[in-house]
């Protein structure tokens, strides 16, 4: 069973797919609600204190905005732990969304820089692409150690 980092980390669908095919998803697993009532699109955990941006200094320097560092304090440890990763580009908000473009750039870079298997996919725009999308994820997960045959 491999630990698989997911981008967007808030995607429940991705998280579910990874778990179904026998691996451990590393994701924030927070639901993006149909109606947005909280501060940001990801409905973040609000136990974050000013200490988190300081912890984020491990992944981003002090001149990087505090919001990026605060986010990295959550996602940075997941990337460190990851043995594989799936990145979905240009995903729809309802699929899973990360609020800050600068953090997203950094996350994707750190994942790609790490020496682990990475699946880079475009978000599907129709049913046919959707079927191929799920199949590609399954094929990738099967190649990982401990994946379902």
């Amino acid at each position: 069973m491999a630990k698989v980092f997911l981008y967007p980390t808030t995607s429940l669908i991705l998280s579910d797919l990874v778990a179904r095919f026998g691996h451990k998803p590393l994701s924030a697993a927070l639901q993006v609600r149909e109606r947005i009532q909280t501060a940001g699109l990801e409905s973040p955990p609000l136990q974050i204190t000013p200490e988190e941006p300081k912890k984020g200094l491990r992944w981003a320097a002090v001149e990087v905005p505090s919001g990026v560092r605060g986010r990295m304090s959550l996602y940075g440890p997941m990337i460190d732990e990851a043995e594989a990763a799936i990145i979905i580009n240009n995903a729809d908000y309802s699929f899973g969304c990360m609020g800050c473009a600068r953090t997203n750039e950094l996350i994707k870079y750190l994942v790609r820089k790490k020496d682990i298997p990475v699946l880079d996919l475009e978000y599907p725009r129709n049913e046919e692409e959707g079927v191929e999308f799920v199949a590609a994820i399954k094929r990738f997960l099967d190649t990982l150690e401990g994946g379902s045959p």
Binding site: G40, P44, I48, P50, P65, S66, G67, G99
Partner: protein
Amino acid sequence: MSRVRIAQLSCGPEYSGVQKEIDEAAAAVDAEIFFPDLKLADIRHSFDEFGLDVRSPDLKLAIARAKALVEGRVEADAVFIATCFRCAEAAIVRNELRRYIHENSRLPVVSYSFTERTTAGTLLTRMEALTTIARRRALLAREVQQGLTMGVDSGSSTTKAVVMRDNEIIGTGWLPTTAVLQSADDAVAQALSAAGVTREDLEAIGTTGYGRFLVGDHLKADLVQEELTVNSKGAVFLADTQRGPSTVIDIGGMDNKAISVQDGIPGTFTMGGICAGASGRFLEMTSKRLGVDITELGPLAMKGLSQKVPMNSYCIVFGTQSLVNALAAGSSPEDVAAAACHSVAEQVFEQQLQEVDIKDPVIMVGGTSLIQGLVRAMEDLLQTEIVVPHHSQYIGAVGSALLASGFIKGE
């Protein structure tokens, strides 16, 4: 009005750990922060329509929320825009949203760029100004001072008191702030003595400035109000520009205010100062180093040429160092004084005036407006003539005395 509802448009405060601070600052002035409720479909639609192609989804959400407020799909009394300090993309959105809301609605709006060190205390005056504009529009519309009232401005550097009767200033008091209450008592005594009246004669008292709560309590003031709205009111009253647009610039001892005013009521404003190098405090230090009184610094600077001295006092320590180096290299005190004025004006121009829409007349107020060299430097940068009204150093006290007359019994 019951609780003031402030709509928050933001990116990053929750991840910076400062959302609690924002909520606390709002609660301290009996206001509540809320996030305009939208559908995901609204975000796509509003964002495309607005036309600013940003990448961050939370900024897209902020844009969609701003549109919902302007179009009246969500009701609010005021708007607070907050994004991370140092994020260029967010800075563009922050500025454009503030302008968009200001131009297309009557909602008071303030913007702020935070770090993880931002505290509720830092945000308090801004939140208070937002709620004052929302709650006291009728009071802020007052254009004439009536009866016998007094205003006290307990500032970080100086304490000022003004006594007014029937729209005229009849007594003033001014002294450096040391012990807050003692300074206030002394300034009040000076003003009362100059006016030839006693405390008992006064029909209403108003306080403003950093020490407003403490002094207000001490003097049993009828009105205790932050300096953003009070100074705007005082400025347009003294400059006799109560109707129409104007811009108020107040370079203070501890922070600077730039306020875009419409009919005497602030629309957008910025308050801050990254460093003491961009404040009146730096000019005070310059005059000490040059061995002249602060009142002589202005005339001295008028005789000098700022271009002759390299100086950028982004930080008060390095600014002073440039000043010492320039004098040691043989620069004249006149040129150094002019360079110090230019440096302060340039920083206020670069850091704050970009965030408000400058509309004529531009009114400079506060003690620093008496330093002619600073006013000239600002005129050069803005390419416009600046109005410095009479009694401009008493601006907060005048605004307080004017607004306090709304509290005279029977009013």
